[in-house]
């Protein structure tokens, strides 16, 4: 899976999950949709990278005993994330059109 595509998939899943997406649910949803196992490390580093890029934001939930007293980190798209998702979608459409797209343009 190409890097950009994985980021795109993660953004998409976060958007689908609304305000309730955290790493565990995001990973479940990803695996369901792509029908491929998702490497835990890839997900966490991608989440971190997306956050670094300002495409997603995170908030901490309440500490839960079942998690050893640790809180969940919920992810949501930022405005930049939303527009990135849209332009990625547009690019992906161009790719689907194959030769119709302007030459030399790359995602």
């Amino acid at each position: 899976m190409r890097h950009g595509t994985f980021e795109f998939a993660v953004l998409l899943v976060i958007r689908q999950l609304g305000e309730d997406g955290y790493a565990v649910t995001i990973r479940e949803a990803l695996e369901r949709q792509t029908a491929e196992p998702v490497a835990r490390g890839a997900l966490y580093t991608t989440l971190a990278r997306l956050e670094d890029k300002g495409l997603v934001r995170s908030r901490m939930g309440e500490p839960l005993p079942v998690r050893g007293g640790k809180a969940r980190r919920f992810y949501a798209l930022t405005a930049a994330g939303e527009s990135a998702l849209q332009s990625a979608r547009a690019r992906s459409v161009l790719e689907w059109r194959g030769l119709d797209g302007p030459l030399g343009e790359r995602p």
Binding site: D52, M60, K70
Partner: protein, 882 residues
């Protein structure tokens, strides 16, 4: 049943993730999934962690440039937190020192003294003993000595049996035959007179082989080195000159090459200039002029063993292998077994005389450093009482034990760092003082300085001492949590600490006693040594040495005629009461030995002895007592009967229980009759025993190298100037090599002893002062703590005297136990002093009693001063203030 995920895996993960929310979320996610699993969940968890580790490490590494990455956002925070903490701790430490100025000042001075003195001594020891010689691959350089094993048994010669030089022909043989060295080289120094418009000047001249500079790995800064074919007698006269002469006389330009110099009426052409600051390590002089070896008038003979030799080992050749070869070659023309060779690493050879004394000083400074460290530890423990409340408050507010420990150690490090900085400043000054105090001719002293190595030494000493000696007080202080404080009450706690502090002071006192005993032994030894009579009277005795060139005075008669005139003329100077001349005047040089025959019980026997050539009245001028017979007189001329005087040591050795008078010695194939016996005169040092010596009238020998001796009345300095002027009048072309006070020469032989004694004594006094201050402090604190108790005692009718005794008692018991401990340690430790002591053993009871008594008096003094306050306590006032 393990409820949680594997702790080790979790711990691992925590290490690679930045602390913070991201890490917490990740760990939480894993645990959440972990608890939903049933079988093999530990293995699952491990798999997850091991899968995560490389990716996270990789991602964190990639994010290292990203200032606000989630994977890094906590990283700067993490680093910042440590930096913050250090800054906070440091600022806190400074605030503390500002608040407790006396404590901080005393601690700083103490640390600075310890580190400063240790660094200064280290700098000297490093420059002289440890650092490699200033040549390329100095470890390959060895010095070669000739050995005469049969000299070992002879009291007159044994001093030098394994340190004999080579003659120039010997050197040539060695160079031709040796295979173990890359090159061998030799030198010999002499002095020549250079006459120019200003008058006669004596110049130190080095006769050097052309291999010397290449062996050392040095090249001339201008011009060229000697060529091998320029060595030897009767070759073209070429010279290398030193940097100073080049700049002063030849303008410091390459035009100097080809110019000439006149030495002893011979003209030398300058072919090169030696590098600036170049000197041959261990050579006491820095000759201005080098001429090729073999050109000296004595260099064709195998008898003059004047050349000092060094060699550079071939790589892969061991010292032992090379020594075997050298030992074989160094037999030269002697019968088998009479002459051998010995190799020593050049650096050790040059510094052999100072190794032990300098190491002794290093031990002494280490001891002082230890004392200052213990002193600071005791100070910190004493501070403890004042800080209990503060630390308890901090721990009550949530500071952990480790946090407090770190705070305390930071204070230590700050204190030590400041102390080290001060100490380094002190070391700069102290090193310069040490160089000034160092005995004359201390090898390599010119290479000593405070440098990066000293700096590193000071820094590591400071850090190590801060951690080692700050740990104990910090640990006892960090133990103070709010609960303990409440349960125990500050009094009990500080009492526990008080006993630790008392132990520290007792140890410090013990160490100080070791230093004091050592210093006292050295002082007493020096005292005894300087009390030893040299066998003549060096006070107000002047040695005047004119330099007579062989070329201008080739005949012995000419030489003697000059001296006859000079001695008579100087005797007539105002302020001179007696004048004479002697070869190898006492304490001037290495003396001169020879082999003679004597008759003993009708059998002729070969013996070795020291010999001197003397003018009439030598014995009254030098104030050497005459044991029997007569002295040399004017009547003992060239044509009269050959006579000789012997000293007591010679008379006792060869004619014990009999009169030496009338005995006969065969000297230089001529029989001489003993007409007088003189007292023994020391020559090399006050600690040396007398060597058999005989005296010949100058008129009956051809020997040169006489020194004029003048007994003065009043100021010797005034006479010195007049003597120089008078000699110039007699013959302006004769330069005066030196005018010296005999007393100064004798005194100079004590320079080594004085140097180590002064420094050790200084260390001991500093140690004593610090310890006394420590004792004072501990009594003062205990008085403060027990003032209330004392007030009550006084109120209940105890006499102030009794209260005083009570307070002093504790400190005195402490002092006594420390002093006893120290004395016991000193009994063992002062054994290292044995080689440095003269006329006193390291176990000298008087010294121990003196030091012990002094310690007791000082202890009582240090305890009594603050204790007076307790005795003067006003009960009413004190109890009211509580």
């Amino acid at each position: 049943v393990s409820a949680g995920p594997p702790a080790l895996a979790q711990w691992l993960l925590e290490r690679v993730l930045p602390p913070g929310a991201f890490r917490a979320a990740l760990l939480g996610d894993l645990e959440e999934e972990f608890v939903t699993r049933k079988r093999g969940r530990n293995a699952w968890y491990w798999r997850q962690v091991l899968g995560l580790l490389p990716r996270i490490l990789w991602a964190r590494w990639r994010a290292r440039e990203h200032p606000s990455s989630v994977l890094r956002s906590d990283v700067p925070k993490f680093n910042e937190s440590i930096a913050d903490m250090i800054e906070t701790d440091t600022r806190y430490a400074f605030r503390l020192f500002a608040r407790r100025r006396t404590f901080a000042a005393v601690a700083l001075i103490t640390i600075a003294l310890g580190i400063g003195s240790a660094t200064a001594i280290f700098s000297v020891v490093d420059g002289v003993l440890l650092r490699g010689l200033p040549y390329p691959s100095p470890e390959e350089l060895v010095s070669a000595h000739r050995t005469f094993p049969h000299w070992r048994t002879d009291p007159a010669l044994q001093r030098n049996w394994d340190r004999i030089g080579l003659s120039y022909p010997d050197y040539l043989d060695w160079r031709a035959q040796q295979r173990m060295f890359r090159d061998v080289a030799a030198w010999n120094w002499t002095s020549r007179t250079s006459v120019d418009a200003q008058g006669a000047e004596i110049m130190d001249v080095l006769l050097a082989t052309s291999s010397l500079l290449p062996t050392l790995g040095v090249a001339p800064q201008v011009g060229r080195n000697f060529l091998p074919e320029e060595e030897g007698f009767g070759k073209p006269h070429v010279a290398l000159i030193g940097d100073r002469l080049w700049r002063e006389r030849f303008g410091g330009t390459s035009k100097a090459l080809g110019k000439t110099l006149t030495l002893d009426e011979q003209i030398f052409t300058i072919v090169g200039v030696l590098p600036a600051d170049f000197r041959i390590t261990g050579l006491r002089i820095t000759p201005d002029v080098w001429v090729p070896a073999g050109s000296g008038s004595l260099d064709t003979s195998r008898v003059n063993l004047n050349y000092t030799t060094i060699a550079r080992l071939r790589s892969g050749v061991t010292l032992t292998q090379a020594e075997q070869e050298t030992n074989r070659i160094f037999q030269f023309d002697r019968p088998a077994g009479e002459s051998g060779g010995r190799l020593v690493n050049w650096q050790s050879d040059v510094t052999r005389g100072v190794r032990r004394p300098f190491l002794l000083l290093l031990y002494a400074s280490a001891l002082l450093l230890l004392i200052t460290c213990v002193n600071v530890a005791a100070l910190l423990l004493g501070e403890g009482a004042a800080r209990d409340g503060e630390l308890a408050a901090r721990s009550a507010l949530g500071a952990g034990r480790r946090r407090i420990l770190r705070q305390l150690l930071t204070e230590q490090l700050v204190l030590s760092a400041l102390g080290a900085m001060l100490g380094l400043g002190l070391a700069f000054w102290a090193t310069r003082t040490l160089i000034g105090l160092a005995p004359p001719f201390t090898p390599r002293i010119e290479e000593v300085g405070v440098n990066l190595r000293s700096f590193a030494f000071a820094l590591s000493a400071a850090t190590i001492t801060a951690i080692v000696f700050g740990m104990a007080p910090a640990l006892t202080l960090a133990r103070t949590d709010a609960g303990t404080l409440m349960r125990m009450g500050s009094n009990r706690l500080s009492r526990r600490r008080g006993s630790l502090r008392r132990a520290a002071i007792a140890v410090q006192l013990g160490l100080a006693v070791v230093l004091l005993v050592g210093a006292a032994l050295l002082v007493r030894s020096l005292n005894r040594l300087s009390g030893v009579s040299p066998g003549f009277s060096p006070e107000q005795l002047l040695y005047v040495q004119p330099q007579l060139d062989w070329d201008r005075f080739p005949e012995a008669a000419q030489y003697r005629a000059y001296y006859d005139r000079a001695v008579a003329s100087l005797r007539a100077l105002p302020g001179v009461s007696a004048a004479s001349a002697i070869s190898s005047a006492p304490f001037t040089d290495g003396g001169s030995g020879t082999t003679i025959k004597l008759e003993r019980g009708g059998i002729e026997q070969e013996v070795n002895a020291q010999w001197r050539v003397v003018y009439p009245d030598f014995q009254s001028t030098l104030s050497i007592p005459l044991s029997s017979g007569r002295s040399v007189t004017e009547a003992d001329g060239a044509t009269s009967q050959r006579i000789v005087l012997v000293n007591d040591a010679m008379a006792e050795q060869y004619w014990p229980g009999r009169s030496a008078l009338g005995q006969r010695l065969q000297i230089d194939q001529q029989w001489h009759t003993v007409v007088g016996v003189t007292g023994n005169v020391k020559h090399f040092g006050l600690d040396q025993s007398a060597v058999p010596t005989f005296y010949l009238p100058a008129a009956q020998t051809r020997r040169r190298g006489l020194v004029i001796v003048l007994r003065t009345e009043g100021s010797a300095d005034a006479v010195a100037g007049a003597a120089r002027a008078r000699l110039r009048e007699i013959d302006p072309a004769v330069a005066v090599r030196s005018v010296e006070l005999a007393a100064q020469l004798v005194n100079r032989t004590l320079a080594d002893e004085r140097f180590r004694t002064i420094i050790t004594t200084f260390f001991a006094l500093v140690a004593a002062l610090l310890t006394a201050a420590g004792l004072y402090g501990i009594t003062a604190d205990s008085v403060t703590q027990r003032l209330r108790e004392m007030a009550i005692r006084i109120a209940l009718g105890a006499s102030p005297k009794r209260v005083l005794r009570l307070t002093v008692q504790g400190t005195v018991v402490l002092g006594l136990s420390g002093a006893l401990l120290g004395a016991l340690v000193a009994l063992a430790a002062t054994r290292v002093l044995r080689p440095f002591l003269f006329g006193i053993t390291p176990l000298d009871p008087t010294t121990y009693v003196l030091v012990f008594a002094g310690t007791v008096v000082a202890t009582i003094g240090a305890a009594w001063l603050p204790a007076r306050r307790a005795a003067r306590a006003e009960p009413a006032q004190l109890l009211k203030s509580e």
